[in-house]
């Protein structure tokens, strides 16, 4: 059973996104198929060049770039949200698949989860 974990908030302002990643990495650690879907302002997690040292947080960019190594099957991003926030091939981290119809994507997973 494939789990889809959805992130819809920007990075760093709250801990929900980090706790979503923890869920994804835990499933992957137990060899359970899991993918991440970024929608709305959540797509900003996928932008290159994040430098959160100044707000005393760790960058999540490296974790996400290493997601496939950890066993996360796919990083999916809502195409319209990417367009809205100026995310293009040039500034998205590697390994992101943009999807046009999130509703259709959602239908494909038995287990769809928000962290909070």
């Amino acid at each position: 059973m494939h789990t889809l974990i959805v992130i819809d908030q920007p990075p760093y302002g709250s801990w929900g996104g980090r706790e979503s990643l923890d869920m994804a990495f835990s499933l992957a650690a137990f060899d359970q198929p899991v993918s991440l879907l970024f929608i709305d302002a959540g797509v900003l997690w996928l932008k290159q060049g994040q430098e959160p040292d100044g707000i005393y947080q760790k960058s999540v960019e490296r974790n996400l770039a290493a997601a496939s190594i950890f066993g996360v099957e796919a990083l999916l991003a809502e195409a319209t949200a990417c367009h809205r926030f100026g995310l293009t091939d040039n500034n998205l981290i590697n390994g992101v698949t943009r999807i046009e119809n999130t509703g259709t994507t959602l239908q494909q997973y038995q287990h769809v989860v928000f962290s909070g």
């Binding site: 908030q9 920007p10 990075p11 760093y12 302002g13 709250s14 709305d40 302002a41 900003l44 932008k47 290159q48 060049g49 994040q50 430098e51 959160p52 100044g54 707000i55 947080q57 367009h83 809205r84 926030f85 100026g86 500034n91």
Partner: protein, 90 residues
């Protein structure tokens, strides 16, 4: 500047929209935390006087729009709160 409006919530939050809807013409907007993502959001029309906390902008790799008043440090933020006749945090 009459009122300094400080917003910390992202542009999709109702609070952000309420703030934009109630700002006066002499007012300035200061974006902190997740609110700085409004600078990258092509669906949001920001008022003339907009500031954003530099460290929050850098954290999220936001490319600031050319037309905004600029990124500010915490030192600038203190000055803004003193220059303003009143401060509202949203």
């Amino acid at each position: 500047m009459h009122t300094l409006h400080i917003v910390s919530k992202p542009p999709g939050n109702t609070r952000f929209r309420e703030c934009l809807g109630m700002m006066g013409e002499q007012d300035a907007l200061l974006l902190t935390g997740n609110a700085v993502t409004a600078l990258a959001d092509s669906t949001i029309t920001l008022p003339a006087m907009v500031y954003a906390l530099q460290e929050d902008v850098r954290a999220r790799a936001i490319d600031p729009r050319q037309d905004i008043s600029g990124q500010v440090t915490f030192d600038d933020m203190v000055s803004l709160t003193i220059r303003a006749q009143r401060v509202i945090s949203w």
